[in-house]
Amino acid sequence: MIRSPLRAGIALACALSLSACGGSSGNLYISGTAFNVTKPGLVLTNNGGDDLAVDASGRFIFAKLVDTDAGYNVQVKSVPTNVEKKEDCIVIRGSGKAVFSVSDIEVICTIRSHALGGTIIGLAGASNLVLVNGSDRKDIAPAATATQTFAMAPVPEDSAYGISILRQPDGRTCTVEKPSGKMLTADINDIVVRCTQ
């Protein structure tokens, strides 16, 4: 008899605490950051729906909120044209059970790269020519032939490139013809470095 109100109280407390734990629907955000997004085309999904287009800022927040303790699973639905395939955008910490709002999901895309190089004319065996494309440095070993090819590190699609001479070869002066441009969808193999005495 004395105990029954107490019991009711406990039941009430239990019920309250349960609802506090997220019996109600959708109050948690699912969000994160995508990297190497340079043009439109990246679309993410959560739990197979709620399609979300990500712009170059990389920030994304899904429109639909999820329930506490509900699962979330972020996947790549489509990628921009400068990314080869869906698998080239990797999702990190993309799935789990939401206890708090999720903000640390990362999507890292790898942009397709193309070769960058050309021909060196008139080096004539001279040593120590060094070419750079920004931080990419290439020390050129002289070939026995009159002309020789060179290749810099591949450059991501849509990126700029610009080949400069960091160091002139011994006894000769070289210039780069059409040294700069934007990497489009094909390799660039026609840059000419011309050296004279």
């Binding site: 750079v132 931080s135 610009g162 080949i163 400069s164 001479i165 960091l166």
Partner: protein, 215 residues
């Protein structure tokens, strides 16, 4: 019976006091420095004690090793400590590590082990220089595939700039090579001193000269 309980109580109390550091215990201030590649780093504690650190050889995989350090002077329980960088290493900048076990300033004895951790990275500096003859819109310079810089006229005065600086910095020992990605309308620009290797100061000697295209 009662007597033995009292004795036990007394013993527990004494033990408890000792555990709380009422004795003569002192604390060593130390920690580790990650990413240290060049000599010259001096750390100071409370601006009174100093320790010089030298980098360790890289491991088999070429990774930079953490360098452990300790200050000679010990602190008493409750003494405040504050470890700061007195002199940075050559070519690098160091800052307190975001390691959760690390506290570069605190009170000795609040945590059982004092770990004041730092992380060092290679310094980076801006590249830039002068522009002469620019009289039209559209000039874009690039540092290879690393970064681009659009040279635009001043929004308020309408004047074209005579100096430029790339927004992205270049790390120590990295090369840079500035070329003209897009010429201004009706002009052609050339670059002098465009390529180099980053040293310990900002690069300001790149010269861009623009001339009017022949009619």
């Amino acid at each position: 019976m009662k007597k033995s309980i009292l004795a036990l109580c007394a013993l527990t109390l004494t033990a408890g006091l000792v555990a709380c550091g009422g004795g003569t215990s002192t604390y060593t201030i130390g920690g580790y420095v990650a990413g240290l590649q060049y000599p010259g780093l001096v750390l100071t504690n409370n601006l009174s004690d100093e320790v010089a650190l030298t980098p360790l050889p890289v491991d088999a995989t070429g990774a930079v090793q953490d360098v452990k350090y300790q200050f000679a002077k010990q602190l008493d329980y409750g003494d405040p400590y504050s470890v700061t960088v007195k002199t940075p290493p050559a070519h690098q900048v160091c800052a307190a590590a975001s390691d959760q076990t690390s506290r570069t300033s605190d009170t000795a004895g609040r945590l059982s082990v004092i770990n004041a951790a730092f992380v060092c990275g290679l310094a980076s500096h801006t590249i830039g220089g002068t522009v002469s003859g620019l009289a039209a819109d559209g000039l874009v310079l690039n540092n290879g595939s690393n970064s681009t810089a659009a040279i635009v006229k001043d929004a308020t005065t309408g004047a074209y700039p005579t100096t430029f600086t790339f927004g992205a910095e270049v790390t120590y020992k990295q090369t840079y090579g500035v070329t003209v990605l897009e010429n201004p309308t009706g002009q052609t620009c050339t670059v002098k001193n465009g390529a180099g290797e980053m040293k310990d100061d900002p690069v300001t000697n790149i010269e861009v000269t623009c001339v009017k295209n022949p009619a």
